[in-house]
C-alpha cells in the first residue's frame, strides 16, 4: 500500500499551489500516473480523502490519467503489455517510462 505516500505528495503540492495562488478551495487535480507504479486508483482516492479532510482540498476530485510504459523487444521490436520474460526471438525486452507521477493541472476557486 504505497498509495498513502503518493496521496501525501499530492496533497502537499496542492496545498502549496493553493497558497501561492491565494486559493480558497481546490476543486480538481489532474494527475498523470505511469502504470508501472502499480497505483490502485481507489486506494489512492481513499488515502487522499482521509488526509485531505478539513483542508481546502477536501472536496477536490482526483482525475487520473494512466500512461503505459513502452515495453518492446530490442531485437525484433515486438511489443508487450507487461515487463515479463524474454521475447520468443530470444531478445531482451526493454522497458521505458511507466513510472511517472505528474500533477498536470489544478482547478481552484479564488476570490
Amino acid at each position: 500500500m504505497h498509495e498513502m505516500s503518493y496521496a501525501e505528495a499530492i496533497l502537499e503540492n496542492l496545498l502549496n499551489l493553493a497558497e501561492k495562488n491565494n486559493a480558497r478551495e481546490i476543486k480538481k487535480a489532474h494527475l498523470v500516473i505511469g502504470e508501472l507504479l502499480l497505483i490502485n486508483p481507489e486506494q489512492l482516492e481513499f488515502c487522499f480523502r482521509a488526509i485531505s479532510r478539513e483542508t481546502i482540498a477536501e472536496n477536490c476530485t482526483l482525475e487520473i490519467e494512466f500512461v503505459k510504459p513502452e515495453i518492446r523487444c530490442v531485437k525484433c521490436g515486438k511489443e508487450f503489455d507487461a515487463p515479463a520474460g524474454v521475447c520468443e526471438c530470444g531478445g531482451f525486452v526493454s522497458v521505458n517510462g511507466g513510472k511517472e507521477m505528474i500533477l498536470k493541472s489544478v482547478i481552484m476557486e479564488v476570490d
Binding site: M1, H2, S5, I10, N13, A23, P83, M101, I102, M108
Partner: protein, 220 residues
C-alpha cells in the same frame, strides 16, 4: 469567487529523488557503500544481515532496519555489535529517501551500510534511497512463481538471491525456473542460489561484497 485552472506540471516523485541524491552524495563523500535489501516477509533478510555482519568483522558496518512497527529485527542485529538503527515506517510498507535522510549521519564512520527494507516485493521498488546496490531476496517457500509475479523489483535489482534452496524439494519449488525467470527479467543481475541455514551460496555474496567495497575504496 471564480475558478482558475493552473498548469502545474509538477513531478510528484522529484522530492524523493532529490533526497535520495543527497543521501547518495553524503555516502560517496564518506566513502560508504550502501546496500538496499528488499524481499518478501520472512525471506531471510535479517538472518542474511546477521551473517554478513559476522563474516565481515574486519570492516565497519552500519545497519538500518525498516519495520512497520516493532523493533525485533533491530534487536537481533544490534546484538552483533554494529551501529544499528531501527526505522518504524508506521503505516508505510516501504522505506523512502526521507526516512533514511534523518538517520544517515549516525553512520559516517562505517564502510558499509546495510539497509533492510520492509518485507514487501511491491512498494519499495519505486523509492530510491540513495543506495549503491539493490539486493532482492526471495525464498523458495514463497512459491516458484514469486519472481514472475513481481517483475519490477527483479528487473531493477543488482543482486537477486534465491534463498532457502535446501527446502526446494520439500515445497516442490523449481529453483531452475525461478532463476530463469530472474535471468529473463534482468540479464545483468548477479543471481545467487542460497541457503543461509546450510551455508549454500553465502560465500559468493561475501566475495561480491568484498569486490564492491574494494572498488569503492580505491575510487574514493
Amino acid at each position: 469567487m471564480h475558478k482558475i485552472e493552473i498548469d502545474a506540471e509538477i513531478d510528484l516523485l522529484s522530492e524523493n529523488r532529490r533526497l535520495a541524491a543527497e543521501n547518495r552524495k553524503f555516502l560517496r563523500e564518506q566513502g560508504i557503500v550502501a546496500v538496499n535489501i528488499m524481499g518478501a516477509i520472512g525471506s531471510g533478510k535479517t538472518l542474511f544481515i546477521e551473517k554478513t555482519v559476522e563474516a565481515l568483522r574486519d570492516i565497519r558496518i552500519g545497519v538500518i532496519l525498516g519495520d512497520v512497527i516493532c523493533r525485533a529485527d533491530y534487536e537481533r542485529v544490534a546484538a552483533h555489535d554494529v551501529v544499528a538503527e531501527p526505522v518504524n515506517t508506521g503505516k508505510e510498507c516501504h522505506l523512502d529517501a526521507h526516512l533514511i535522510h534523518h538517520r544517515i549521519r549516525k553512520f559516517e564512520d562505517v564502510d558499509l551500510l546495510l539497509i533492510e527494507n520492509v518485507g514487501n516485493l511491491i512498494c519499495p521498488v519505486d523509492f530510491d534511497l540513495g543506495e549503491d546496490f539493490r539486493v532482492v531476496m526471495v525464498s523458495v517457500t514463497e512459491g516458484d512463481d514469486v519472481v514472475e509475479k513481481h517483475p519490477e523489483i527483479f528487473r531493477l535489482a543488482d543482486v537477486i538471491i534465491i534463498n532457502k534452496v535446501a527446502l526446494a524439494e520439500f515445497v516442490e519449488a523449481d529453483v531452475d525456473k525461478m532463476e530463469k525467470d530472474a535471468r529473463n527479467l534482468n540479464p545483468e543481475a548477479r543471481i545467487i542460489r542460497m541457503d543461509l541455514k546450510k551455508d549454500i551460496g553465502f560465500e559468493e555474496w561475501i566475495e561480491f561484497l568484498r569486490g564492491v567495497l574494494n572498488v569503492s575504496g580505491n575510487s574514493g
